[in-house]
Amino acid sequence: MITALLVMALGAVLLGAALGYAAVKFRVEGDPLVEKIDGILPQTQCGQCGYPGCRPYAQAIANGDADINCCPPGGEDGIRKLADLLGREFKPLSGEHGVEKPKSVAVIDENVCIGCTLCLQACPVDAIVGAAKQMHTVIAPQCTGCELCVAPCPVDCIAMVPIAESMDSWKWKYPVIEIRKAA
């Protein structure tokens, strides 16, 4: 009886030690789920979800604090991918966080800009160049269209301009058959 208990206890101690060692040795840095969610999010860093950036929102989704339908730039596609990843039900974009808009870039009216640097400080991806009392301008390819620079501008010289379709961005449309009137 005692022997049996001792054997079991010894076994438990050994296995516990092995598991403890493995937990330290093969520790995974960071949360892989957060990484995956962050990979799906559009990285506009716009904060429309109510979190200060895409990564905090990913963290909140992973913790179960936030719903998956709070990201307007990601759109329905993004929600669908998140739903697939997390095994949850798809739900339409929640209206309180905004609506899905066409992809845009910020454009500064350089005649009006007073060089206050407020938009420079607001831009999460450093896509605006300029200095105090110098004209500012947006590096269009780096702009994520987050609109965070629009509100701080004291002279309202920043406009969001939807990106026009170009040769590079043109896509073949989903095939649809035109319905024509017979004769």
Binding site: P42, Q43, P124, S166, S169, K173, P175
Partner: protein
Amino acid sequence: MRRLFGFWGGIKPDSHKNESTRLPVAKAPLPSLLTVPLRQNAGASPRIMVKAGDPVLKGQMIAAPEDGLSVALHAPTSGHVRAIEARAIAHPSGLAGICAIIEPDGAERWVELEPLDAARTSPEQLRRRLREAGLVGMGGAAFPSYVKAGGTAIDTLIINGAECEPWITCDDMLMRTRGEDIVGGAIMLRELLGARKLLIGIEDNKPEAIAAMRAAATRADPGLEVVAVPTRYPAGGEKQLIRVLTGLEIPYGKLPSHFGVQCFNVGTAAAVHRAVSRGKPLISRLVTLTGNVAEPRNYEVAIGMPVNELIALAHPQADTDRYLMGGPMMGFALPDLAVPVVKATNCIIAASPTLFPAPTPEMPCIRCGACAQACPAELAPYELYWFARSQNLGKCQEYHLFDCIECGCCAFVCPSRIRLVDYYRYAKSSIRAREKDKLAADHARERYEFRLAREEREKQDKAAKLAAKAAETKAKLARASAGDESAPASESDDKKALIEAAMAKAREQTTPALNTDVHRMTAEQQAQVTVAEARHAAATATAAKDT
């Protein structure tokens, strides 16, 4: 006799090649305006070097190659540049692209040409010439030729004269009339690549072209082999022709050059010859004008000629309802007839309801597998169709959608008349767009994280600076108090001393401001003020009187 191999699938549509080969090649007259699109090839656009109003000579470079896979662009004739602006160009989207609008003066004055002796020129120089002469693949994909001519360890060079697509005969007529140019260019490419073998593959439905090429080949180099390949669409596809001639199968994700094979179109070979031994850039090409027209024929057309002026030469029939650019299998209906002919334009077909009946409604896929039997890329088109239709793009990639050459064999044999290629094109461009978005998002994340790190670093730097400054002040005060009193100052004394110092500083700053105070003015200054005020009062009084 060379042993030939077969490729899987393929179809045998009516060739319709005889219509446009009855009449000899004619030179199309110059139009009133030439529209030369800046971007004519896969890869980047060249940089424009002329501006509106500039005079240009025939063959003058109007856009220089820059980074990326760009090649030069030349004025197709002499005249003046009217404008550099966005115009509709030949693209299924119907979108506009930047074009140079050139008004010909009719004089056709050439720029000074610099022919090269291929035997005495270094490979780098030859490749630079190909780039500066604006050479791109003339079979339709318009890939810059200088890149393909830079391959190493090439064993076999194949010149593609198969021209498998129905209706198109421009390569056929080129081989019949300019065999020497093609053979000359092919030999230059062979020397450039260091290839051992040189094969010219021509479909056996073009006996005149085969005979002409054989004659030209024996005159130039007996080691050159002209091979007749069985007629079956798409035998002119690069991978298919390589398979037929060498038995090699190019696997997924590899290029022919990885297997020591390189393939050029006959038109490209002829252009290489002209560019090197005559110094002439690529400014015109043969275009087949056929279909529902009274006079189907091949024309030598200047790049930039508007399609509507070209069509008028062949007198289209009254019931023509649309025009196709390229062949009936892989071409597209032109959204606008003002678009110009570009380096990749091989054929324009006038379509009528009798020649090309409108597509019948799609029926459901019955999974008969006819498409898989016909697919030359050995894919499973019915599976791809299913995934593309349900927008399951990941699965499309798993089933090797990007191996699809969009030849249209599957849609041709489909008993349900499903426009399969449209679905594949949709899926391909969606996948490409998705990958581009993903790259952009990764880039944005990187920049965002860098910004956060930078802000954190700035905060720490600032805190460190403040701490250092505070320590310095403290030390200074300690020294000062140590000088006044021998006893070390306590903590509260320290603070008091700091406050004292700050107050003194504030007083110092406000003192000069008091100078403006009226009560501290000197008598002289006060007198000046009184005089000025009197003057002001007098001025206002006279102004009031005047009114």
